[in-house]
């Protein structure tokens, strides 16, 4: 049996380092500030590119996300780990995806971006990360009391391929309808003319880096939610070492590239309403913990045939559309007009899911 290097201690540290360095490079190549990679923000931009929301500043079909899924698919196929499966409470996962995204957009970033914001000197990220840990801690309490979404079933190969094929379709759309300078629309795709959506690295660089990260993360099972969860639940630090490596290498990369700007005020795509930085990430962290993975991990699972993870991702894309259509998402000025209400509703929904979806699963 060939040992999986990436699944070992040094493997996960290397993967964290690769993600941290490449995120810094992507920012240098044109991605928004402290947003070299942000799964939530980029899925939000994809929702915008498809016209699911009409926030003109966040519309771009991010090739990184496509690369994550296809890179994971390539890794899974190469190492015989492509396992088509689905049927573990998909509707619950969809709803968790919706509220995970809403929480992340109140803070303005997924856990990956929270780490990258920290590595870029954004002090507000500390509050967000504390909220994330708090949300995961609540999720762990549910897990300890028997919370689970039930078993998935092995299914047709094509079921596992549907989500990667959707991503391949999105890539084809990018080639068919490339960005036209000065135009906000090309064929069926929308392109931001200003704001974060207008800031992006060249397509091929984004795609290749996405593929590399997707491949490495599938092999290593890199997961930011899992890092906190395993620490709280089992006192395991395996995944956490990858996360720390990501922050350290992103910090060094930012420092070298002149992208490190310490402070709280005026940070790129961030606000200073700390209560809502915290609460948004509590909601997101709880939703990730209940769904079994951070947004990045859900993409890599989708790539290896997990149809339930794919439903979570679709939930996140829908959540982004809802967040921007109804004023739930924050902006650098602060929370949106209905962001606070949405966090409250999201927490109630997550608690409902956590309290009601329990089953004796001794498996004996």
């Amino acid at each position: 049996m060939v040992k999986n290097f990436f699944a070992g201690r040094w493997g996960i540290i290397c993967v964290g380092a690769v993600i941290g360095i490449l995120a810094g490079v992507l920012q240098k190549m044109g991605n928004p500030g402290n947003m070299g990679i942000c799964v939530a923000c980029f899925e939000r931009d994809i929702a915008g590119a498809l016209g699911l929301h009409r926030a003109g500043v966040v519309q771009y079909m991010r090739p990184e996300i496509i690369g994550f899924v296809l890179g994971s698919l390539i890794a899974a196929l190469s190492f015989k780990e492509f396992k088509p499966r689905s049927g573990s409470a998909p509707i619950a996962r969809f709803v968790l995806g919706v509220f995970a995204m809403i929480g992340a957009l109140v803070f303005l970033g997924c856990p990956w971006r929270a780490l990258l914001r920290l590595a870029g000197g954004d002090g507000n990220a500390i509050i967000g990360l504390l909220g994330l840990a708090g949300g995961i801690w609540i999720g762990v309490l549910f897990l300890k009391n028997g919370y689970n979404l039930g078993r998935s079933q092995a299914t047709h190969k094509s079921v596992g391929l549907i989500f990667p094929l959707i991503m391949l379709g999105f890539l084809c759309l990018m080639f068919l309808y490339p960005q036209v300078a000065g135009e906000n629309k090309s064929g069926v795709l929308l392109y931001s003319l200003k704001g974060p959506g207008a800031m992006h690295a060249p397509l091929f660089i984004s795609l290749v880096i996405g593929l590399v990260v997707g491949f490495a993360a599938q092999r290593s099972r890199f997961c930011t939610m899992g890092a906190f969860r395993d620490l709280i639940l089992f006192r395991h630090i395996h995944l956490l070492t990858g996360l720390i490596s990501l922050v350290l290498f992103a910090f060094v990369t930012n420092f070298v590239l002149g992208q490190f700007n310490p402070g709280f005020e005026g940070q790129p795509v961030a606000h200073t309403m700390q209560v809502w930085n915290f609460a948004g990430m509590v909601l997101a962290g709880l939703a990730f913990a209940l769904a079994g993975g951070c947004p990045g991990r859900q993409l890599f699972l989708s790539g290896e045939g997990d149809g339930d993870a794919a439903v979570f991702v679709l939930g996140m894309i829908m959540g982004a559309a809802i967040a921007h259509n109804f004023g739930l998402a924050s902006s650098p000025k602060g929370v949106g007009p209905h962001g606070i209400a949405a966090v409250a509703v999201g927490l109630i929904v997550c608690l409902f899911i956590g309290f009601t979806m329990r089953k004796n699963i001794k498996g004996v």
Partner: protein, 72 residues
């Protein structure tokens, strides 16, 4: 005493939680875990080692793994 735990279809952390539950009493000398993803296989093995159990055998049957875990 030997015990078999069917964790197939569950994604992490459930398989690890099921393993932890099984060893709680301390009476089980041999635990056989059935899992169906490589991530679960690695996580259960890692958890077993951290609890000072030995993974003596990992057998692949089709798309599934049978992990034999023995107490020292």
């Amino acid at each position: 005493m030997s015990i078999t735990i069917d964790a197939r279809g569950f994604s992490c952390p459930q398989p690890v939680l099921m393993f932890m539950e099984a060893i709680k009493s301390g009476n089980e000398k041999e635990i056989i875990m059935l899992v169906d993803t490589d991530a679960s296989k690695e996580n259960v093995s890692r958890a077993a080692e951290s609890k000072k159990y030995n993974v003596t055998d990992i057998r692949q049957q089709g798309d599934e793994y049978q992990i034999t875990i023995v107490k020292d």
